[in-house]
């Protein structure tokens, strides 16, 4: 395979963005079609990539290796079973975001599309980079477009939220940069494949792990550094919230699997109790906070914190089920939270209010909307038959294998999750129609229907038939765990279970 398919995936959206940048008109629909076309082509390429992908091996495929910083860092990209799913998630969500700008973005449409496309490039870059420096570059560069998306097109407190988002993430990440440079001096390379083979000296692992953790914990977000997320979600425009929830948060989960487990097995073993506790706090605390929210977007934001708590929990069980569950949970949460934010966006565009008390009785005016919203609500709380169930179930299975008490507490979170999601749904969709303004609003239009159905189909499909997902990741996860245990036995017998 000589054609640089990954690089073209990364570059294509940026080329689309450049095309938009040099186009004359600022608000016409042509720009939108250009953006939609590029991102859709990107989606097709990524599906083709999945088709070409060979799931029977965990070695990195489609690897491209070019000299970049001379004698020091190579531009190296490649994918394994874990990254390919995230790439497809990214390329699926982006065109949907672009369709959704129809009603939400009224000013400077062209600039918004440019930001979204650049963002797509960077996110794909994060998921396929095989060098720590390249990874950091993509990881951090994503801050710029997201800062602008929140700040320019956001709600009332957009400036505060944009700053908070930017500074929190940057603060976490600079420590990771120190760690990356240190790894270069300790191991002599920043190439992940080589680092996997070489391993990192045990005595450095703890500090390095913590430095990476500081970055990923902010991005996940884990309790207690999650506070930027509700602000950012609430103030961002719908498409921004969708990108943030569906993909940006997953970078951290992906980072935990790829780097924390892969590079620092001894430290990961040592810090597992820490991650467990923070995850459990996140699950319980965020669920309780979500119960009390008046603002729909904030509620979903807190539910994201809780769901990501499950993800980190599953990753650090270091069992086949746990990690597979986490990956599926991330994909599923990517689809479901995106859909929920879009659902909120739909009613927000009509009523310009995100408060739950504005609504009530929507089922009689927007029946189609109510059906889809219910589907996603149930998927969010993990009803069997939706993709949410597969993820949570596998994570809990992994957790039971590892630690009974942790699993029991986490299961409580599932119950809370059902409580706040169903209560939200009841208050918004059922009940008496009190607010008379609601009578005037139309049901879903075609583009909204299209967006929500394109998310609903995979949610249902993978809920009943998760085989394609599991097949893709199985070997990669299995080999990762084997490598993890092997390194643990070799370098850190004293901390072995």
């Amino acid at each position: 395979m000589n054609f640089p398919i990954l690089s073209s995936l990364i570059l294509l959206p940026t080329i689309g963005a450049l095309f938009l940048l040099f186009s004359k008109d600022k608000n016409s629909n042509t720009g939108k079609y250009v953006a939609l076309f590029t991102s859709f082509v990107n989606f097709l390429i990524s599906i083709y990539l999945w088709y070409l992908f060979d799931p029977s091996t965990s070695t990195f495929q489609f690897v491209e290796n070019r000299e970049w910083l001379k004698g020091f860092v190579n531009y190296k990209v490649g994918i394994d079973g874990i990254s390919v799913l995230f790439i497809i998630l990214t390329t699926l969500i982006t065109p949907l975001c672009i369709i959704s700008v129809n009603n939400t973005i009224k000013v400077r449409l062209r600039d918004f599309l440019i930001a979204i496309l650049v963002m797509e490039s960077l996110m794909i870059g994060v998921f396929c980079s095989l060098d720590l420096v390249v990874f950091y570059l993509f990881f951090e560069a994503g801050l710029i477009p997201m800062f602008l998306i929140i700040g320019i097109w956001g709600g009332e407190r957009r400036v505060y939220s944009a700053f908070k988002f930017f500074l929190y993430t940057l603060l976490g990440s600079v420590l990771m940069l120190v760690a990356i440079i240190s790894i270069y001096w300790i191991a002599g390379t920043t190439d992940i494949v080589q680092l996997y083979e070489l391993g990192i000296d045990t005595k450095y692992q703890n500090l390095l792990w913590l430095a990476f953790f500081s970055s990923f914990a902010v991005k996940t977000p884990m309790w207690p550094v999650h506070t930027w997320l509700p602000d950012a979600h609430v103030e961002a425009p719908t498409a921004g919230s969708v990108l943030l929830a569906a993909i940006l948060l997953k970078m951290a989960g992906y980072g935990f699997i790829r780097f924390s487990l892969g590079l620092f097995p001894v430290a990961s073993e040592l810090f597992t109790p820490l991650v467990y506790s923070l995850s459990l706090i996140a699950i319980i605390y965020a669920s309780l906070v979500a119960l009390m929210q008046e603002d729909m977007k904030k509620l979903i934001a807190y539910s994201s914190v809780a769901h990501m708590g499950f993800v980190t929990l599953g990753i650090f069980t270091i069992t086949q089920q746990g990690i597979e569950g986490s990956i599926i949970q991330m994909i599923s949460h990517g689809l479901v939270s995106a859909a929920l934010f879009l659902c909120v966006g739909v009613v927000y565009d009509r009523m310009h209010s995100r408060l739950i008390k504005t609504y009530g009785g929507l089922v009689s005016v927007m029946p189609k909307y109510s059906i889809l919203f219910m589907l996603f609500t149930l998927a969010a709380l993990g009803l069997p038959g939706t993709s949410g169930f597969i993820g949570e179930f596998l994570i809990l299975m992994g957790a039971f294998k590892d630690n009974f008490l942790v699993a029991v507490i986490a299961s409580l979170g599932v119950i809370f999750g059902a409580a706040y999601m169903l209560w939200l749904y009841r208050r918004v969709v059922f009940g008496n129609l009190v607010n008379k303004d609601l009578l005037k609003i139309p049901d879903l239009d075609n583009s909204e229907k299209f967006i929500l159905w394109s998310l609903a189909i995979p949610v249902l499909f993978f809920g009943f038939y998760p085989e394609p997902l599991i097949n893709t990741i199985e070997v990669s996860v299995n080999d990762l765990i084997e490598m993890y245990n092997f390194n643990l036995n070799m370098y850190g017998p004293e901390v072995q279970k």
Binding site: E67, W68, L69, K70, V133, Y136, L137, E140, A141, L143, I144, F147, L148, G151, I152, R158, V159, A162, F163, F166, L167, L170, L171, V174, L175, L177, V178, I181, S182, Y184, W185
Partner: protein, 471 residues
């Protein structure tokens, strides 16, 4: 005679200064001509330097003057900086009614002084170069003599700078007293590093040099002088003398006093940390862009010093890479400042940028790129500058310096973000004029593209700089 070949650039620039002076006397209204000629002379000087074979290290005039890779590269940076400053500030000078023949000539004088400083291998030669550039700079700072602020800043700079020169000279005399020579190599060879006298000498000289590059705690002059001077002079202050002073810093620390690294390393680390933190924190409250640039340049000098404190060739190289990228970023930033003009009046507070993105999308996009780069966000050039510095810092396991430095980038990011917020998130004001000179547009485009596309070929600059090996 052979010696003279090597210093042909210096000779050429001295001759052109005299020529321009005479021309200025005999031609009335010749400002424009002299301005353009001096840009041409600067460019010719660059060609002359490139003509010298890069590989050879030559010492001239009894080992007191040295031409090596370091000096050639830094001279080219200085000359390029000077040429850009002259070419983009024409319109500003005309509107501020200070478009006089003395302006380019003074800039040439100070550049000549810097070239002597950069090449000096002897305390006496170094001091002569330093004074030549400083005297020209005093006059430049107060060039807009009808304005109170400009005169004030010139005077302030003169008094404080004279004080620091005095300290520096005292340091030189101490070193001469304890080592018996003013030549860098002889000092280095004959040095008995246990002498407290020498340590004192180093400290005094470092204080003097730290003043010239405005490192904390010798930075007090910078904000006032930057604000008071004409913008074009501020630009010159912000980029060109720093290059020269940093070169002297490098040569002074690594040639005669490399053996005493234990003594000077803590001082440089302190200067670096203090500058990084102070530059970041103090800039937060500023409303005037020129003052803000002053504080941000204090911070940036902190990073350059961090690379210098390491004590390896990689450290020196990273520091030079840093200062080169910093030059480009400041050039872009000031090009934007020169474009903030409405009805023949220039604006320089942050509020004047309000909503710029709606009226001037291209200008705002450039500012966005430059500001994010100054904040050190990848994939822009400013990130790589910091990356190289911290790479060399961490190589020597100086984790404390690295972590403090990177945390202060987060604080610094705040005030850069504040400007971006004003440009992009706030309500628009009146439009600015768009009749900019071609040179201004070229320099803005050039610097923006260089910053934006640096990541495609990040090794080019490093390759050039890696020829500099002092140890």
């Amino acid at each position: 005679m052979n010696n003279l070949n090597f210093i042909s650039p210096e000779i050429f620039i001295s001759l052109s200064i005299m020529f321009l002076l005479i021309l200025g006397v005999f031609r009335k209204n010749g400002s424009s001509l002299i301005h353009n000629l001096s840009i041409g002379f600067l460019l010719i000087t660059i060609i002359l330097i490139l003509n010298n074979p890069f590989e050879t290290d030559v010492t001239l005039f009894g080992n007191s003057y040295v031409i090596d890779n370091l000096s050639s590269l830094m001279k080219i940076l200085t000359l390029l900086g000077g040429a850009f400053v002259l070419s983009i500030s024409t319109k500003y000078l005309k509107i501020s009614k200070i478009f006089l023949i003395e302006y380019p000539i003074l800039i040439l004088c100070s550049i000549l002084g810097m070239m002597v400083m950069i090449s000096s291998n002897d305390l006496m030669v170094f001091y002569i170069g330093l004074e030549l550039q400083s005297l020209a700079l005093y006059v430049l700072a107060s060039f807009n003599r009808d304005q109170l602020k400009s005169s004030e800043s010139g005077l302030k700079y003169f008094v404080l700078s004279a004080l620091s020169s005095g300290l520096l000279l005292y340091g030189c005399s101490l070193i001469y007293g304890f080592s018996g020579s003013t030549n860098f190599n002889i000092i280095g060879n004959s040095m008995d590093s246990t002498h407290y006298g020498l340590t004192f000498g180093i400290v005094f000289i470092l204080v003097g040099l730290a003043f010239k590059i405005s490192a904390v705690p010798f930075h007090m002059w910078a904000p006032d002088v930057y604000e008071g001077s004409p913008t074009s002079v501020t630009l010159f202050f912000a980029i060109v003398p720093k290059v020269a002073a940093l070169t002297v810093f490098i040569r002074f620390l690594y040639v005669p006093f490399f053996n005493m690294i234990d003594q000077w390393q803590p001082i440089i680390i302190f200067l670096s940390i203090a500058s990084m933190i102070f530059g970041a924190v103090a800039a937060i409250g500023q409303g005037n862009l020129k003052r803000l640039v002053a504080y941000s340049s204090i911070g940036h000098i902190g990073y350059a010093l961090a690379g210098l404190s390491v004590g390896t060739n990689e450290g020196i190289q990273s520091s030079i890479v840093y200062i080169s990228i910093y030059m480009v970023m400041n050039l872009g930033l000031f090009s934007c400042l020169f474009m903030m003009k409405r009805n023949d009046q220039y604006f320089e507070t942050i509020d004047d940028l309000s909503g710029l993105s709606k009226n001037h999308p291209v200008l705002s996009l450039s500012l966005l790129v430059i500001l994010f780069s100054l904040a050190g966000i990848p994939p822009l050039a400013g990130f790589f500058a910091k990356f190289y510095v911290f790479k060399s810092v961490i190589e020597q396991s100086m984790y404390f310096l690295a972590i403090v430095g990177l945390l202060s980038t987060v604080i610094a990011a705040f005030y850069y973000l504040r400007i971006i917020k004003v440009i992009y998130f706030d309500e628009e004001k009146e439009k600015y004029d768009t009749d900019h000179s071609v040179w201004l547009k070229i320099s803005l485009t050039f610097s923006t593209l260089l910053i934006l596309l640096y990541f495609i070929f990040p090794s080019k600059l490093v390759e050039i700089v890696s020829r500099i090996n002092l140890i």
